[in-house]
Symmetry: C2
Subunit: 368 residues, 2 copies
């Protein structure tokens, strides 16, 4: 009999598999490289050339740990957002910061509210801390503030997660709606507002940042519009005392030094960001056209992807996704009904979308 | 009264300060850049030029997430160590992997054994999960296998941490001693063998890797001899079922893509590694000479640093460290008595060590 220690109870019951199989693993299984990589909501247009230059320049410094306070980037973000440096904590992407937030507040017996089909990595972190997930349905393809708030009240939830714009549907609420939601956060609850996709949303989507409110944390990233997914830099904005709490659980020397230099260069090149956001908007339109051409319904999106309602069930969407993969196109689909009637296409180059368009036509011809 | 949720009990009691203030924060406080950065056991000789080239080449790909399975690097490590890819998990440095290990096994009420004054970041992770730290003293400047094992038995500890060679003293046990220790791990206990400094140790320090033993995890890093601290790449080797457990808690899309390419290049350039290890050995000798010149006792080291016994108390060592900082020299010292009678100097260039030597002479002349 094994003498190895037992994993703690709420971890022992977790699966060893995860929701997202990487495109590389799919490529290995298929025996070929994807011709169009438009599944992970990466930014195919890439980061600013200044980011690439900053990374190259930082390469020689890689023998040094990064500044654990990441002060230079925090100061730049502080100026950018008009908040104090004490209101910002840097992490290895939003994933890492959501993980930190769950570790501050969640243990077995704690309720956490999110939407069924919303970002699975958040759920993954909650489960790892033994928290109980309370799931409310999307309404009209949107995460629904009212039912999220109601469930949070009913269950005395400590955390309430919402992404705006949302993933995987791409829908969004405007600033007024969000402000109304923020004003109704129940006592004893922290709202985690994931704004990974805010940079591609219409002006007026983000509610003003109120650093005096200790019931909301805002999560931002360099992975999407800034085109730096592989760098793993995100940040969280909140009331100073709450942000200080992250010091208790974050990996202080965990940031990649080269990535921090890249993020700083990205932030400073807002012209490039605007240019890329334009390209993403054009790509969204093109994806919507392709959807309609094939009889699918594109769901309006404020993100760097478009979910398209394929009009049938998840089995059909899954068959489309698999058929696309076999034809060299990496996409994803929502994992939970009724969202899983859709497939989700990330913004791509004209060539990516042509390949997608052609492949989609072929599969539909094949499977109906 | 604040309506923010309470942090969970075992996190609420933790300090918001951390043991390691970064050199950058010290530079800001001093108003100048360190002339010699020899405090964080970084590798001043830097990584292989091929690593720098790999980082530069990968810069353009930074828009893509890294392969969450990091298969290419794991395959290379598998070949390097003669173990299966299923025996290796990659993480953001050893810190991140120690964090994962504590999350698998530790919760409030669980005992964890380590040495008083050993790696504080491990303790930080244990505390964040609510575990109880059982500390045993160093014996003759060494982490002491016998007393660690005895305390683990007495307290039914689930984790036992030891670093070999050790930090902050630089001492080490040879392979036979380690094998004897491994053969005595108590039932229900997992030994975490931190081998961050193994690459600079004499041949025969590392015990053979036994991937059938599910009571030991071996931690390695690209941060030290490989000169990539700022990249944050480490790995853990263990029995396949235990390694699979990490899938439950690790941040799957958390690795920096550029860093993985760099680590692969580093691993492939073993000639460069050997060259750097030689430079580090020379530097250790030079540090020992400087210690003796000033009447201090260098402690034999198998790492990329040398601890020197300053022959008095922690207040004296602290005064030396502060005086050195004021003179532009970043070093560290152990945080716990009796180790804290020492200062710890990382391997440096000839210039770094000249600056250190001069500054040390000045302070001793000043404070006696």
């Amino acid at each position: 009999m094994s003498k190895t220690p037992k994993q703690i109870d709420h971890v022992a019951i977790l699966p060893e598999t995860v929701p997202f199989v990487g495109p590389e693993a799919q490529e290995r299984a298929l025996g070929k490289i994807f011709a169009a990589r438009i599944g992970a909501n990466e930014n195919v247009f890439g980061p600013s050339p200044k980011v690439i230059e900053a990374i190259k320049n930082a390469a020689k410094d890689v023998w040094m740990y990064a500044d654990p306070e990441a002060l230079e980037l925090r100061e730049a973000l502080s100026e950018h957002h008009g908040v104090g440096v004490e209101n910002i904590v840097i992490g290895g992407g939003i994933d890492n910061l959501l993980d930190c937030a769950t570790r501050l507040y969640v243990e077995p017996g704690v309720n956490v509210v999110t939407s069924a089909g919303a970002y699975p990595t958040f759920n993954f972190h909650v489960s790892a801390t033994g928290g109980n997930l309370e799931l409310v349905p999307f309404v009209n393809n949107c995460e629904d503030p009212d039912s999220l708030l109601e469930r949070a009240r009913e269950t005395s939830a400590k955390l309430l997660y919402i992404s705006n714009p949302d993933n995987p549907m791409g829908t969004w609420w405007d600033s007024d709606d969000m402000e109304r939601m923020i004003s109704s956060i129940p006592d004893g609850c922290m709202m985690l507002l994931d704004e990974a996709y805010i940079d591609t949303a219409p002006a007026g989507t983000a509610p003003p940042i109120d650093i005096t409110n200790d019931q909301i944390l805002r999560f931002r990233t360099f992975s999407k519009a800034y085109g730096m997914a592989g760098s793993r830099v995100g940040y969280c904005i909140g009331e100073a005392g709450i942000i200080r709490g992250f010091e208790k659980v974050r990996n202080h020397f965990g940031m990649n030094r080269v990535a921090l230099d890249g993020a700083l260069a990205a932030l400073k090149d807002q012209d490039y960001l605007a240019e890329v956001v334009g390209k993403i908007a054009d790509s969204r339109e093109k994806i919507a056209e392709i959807a309609e051409k094939h009889g699918f319904k594109p769901i309006p999106s404020a993100t760097n992807f478009v979910a398209m309602d394929c009009g049938r069930d998840s089995a059909y969407a899954l068959a489309l996704m698999k058929g696309l993969a076999e034809r060299g196109v990496f996409i994803r689909m929502p994992g939970v009904e009724p969202l899983s009637r859709c497939i989700r296409i990330s913004a791509g180059t004209a060539q990516d979308l042509q390949i997608f368009d052609d492949a989609l036509g072929e599969i539909i011809a094949e499977i109906g």
